[in-house]
Symmetry: C2
Subunit: 190 residues, 2 copies
Amino acid sequence: MKALEEKILKDGTVLPGNILKVGSFLNHQLDVDFLMEMGREIASLFKDDNVTKILTVETSGIAVAMAAAVAMHVPVVFAKKHKSSNISGNLYTTIVHSYTHNIDYNIVVDSEFLKSSDRILIVDDFLANGKALLGLIDIVNQAGAELVGCSCAIEKGFQKGGDMLREKGIKVESLAIVESMDETSLTFRR
Amino acid sequence: MKALEEKILKDGTVLPGNILKVGSFLNHQLDVDFLMEMGREIASLFKDDNVTKILTVETSGIAVAMAAAVAMHVPVVFAKKHKSSNISGNLYTTIVHSYTHNIDYNIVVDSEFLKSSDRILIVDDFLANGKALLGLIDIVNQAGAELVGCSCAIEKGFQKGGDMLREKGIKVESLAIVESMDETSLTFRR
């Protein structure tokens, strides 16, 4: 998605530790009109897949998932990062390792909201090593639902999570794939 | 908002400890079409206030804030609940007490995203004792921005946070105000 690549080049900042900071539009401040454009793009990439529900994980996946869901007229379910006192009943849960924060955390979805009849599109803001997506895929499998594919706003192509998932036969559509980046330059995979 | 009251009566569940569980449409699964309707309602309540930015706090405020922002064509900024390694630079920060989880936590906003020229509408999913909104108002004040008002999806009228804010002269518009609730009945303020 050309407009996203341009926005990353214009507004993104690369920090040490392979961090691409896009807080001005994607995960601290939200450029809502632009997010809705990204959502329409995701909807068009999965328009023939009969998606019934979008699954994401809090926090920063919610905005892009919601934008795609508005375009597709399906609900979003967001996995929570720990057992909250407001979640009760039967849960799907799995452990995800965060390299950004260097911790393991539980993600949890109330089993009420994912059914074996669902066709699930997983959406997130970033795809790097793929650990968050693998956790969400595990939850889709626990529910016995069909995984339609995964779509992320920004994939760090050099961290191989996206290619690892594609090699498993999963449809992975990222709106921009960063091929390389450092504090002075950033290139995209075409 | 009549449609929200009906949805709360139909899909909400009251749990012990004054918890109103609305995970099926507002804060675990998101009924996106309905959220967009709520967003248009918020936009109409603040249409003459020249809002330039919506401020909320992660996690469950994000969806309703985004829905309002889509209708108003303004950006959202969401406060983060702790200092993350992806936030750098100058920060506005304050401490909020959560009665749900019985902890104090820091909320943090990068000062880059709130300016003294901004006219801020604060949006959240729930308004109970008002502690989260007071924290966000503190951040608006730190930025020297103008507070236009606060809008929440569901106000627990019996917990007095909304009335406390109204007594300070703040415009507070909740889409549904629960006057009383227990495990067998729920009434709204009219």
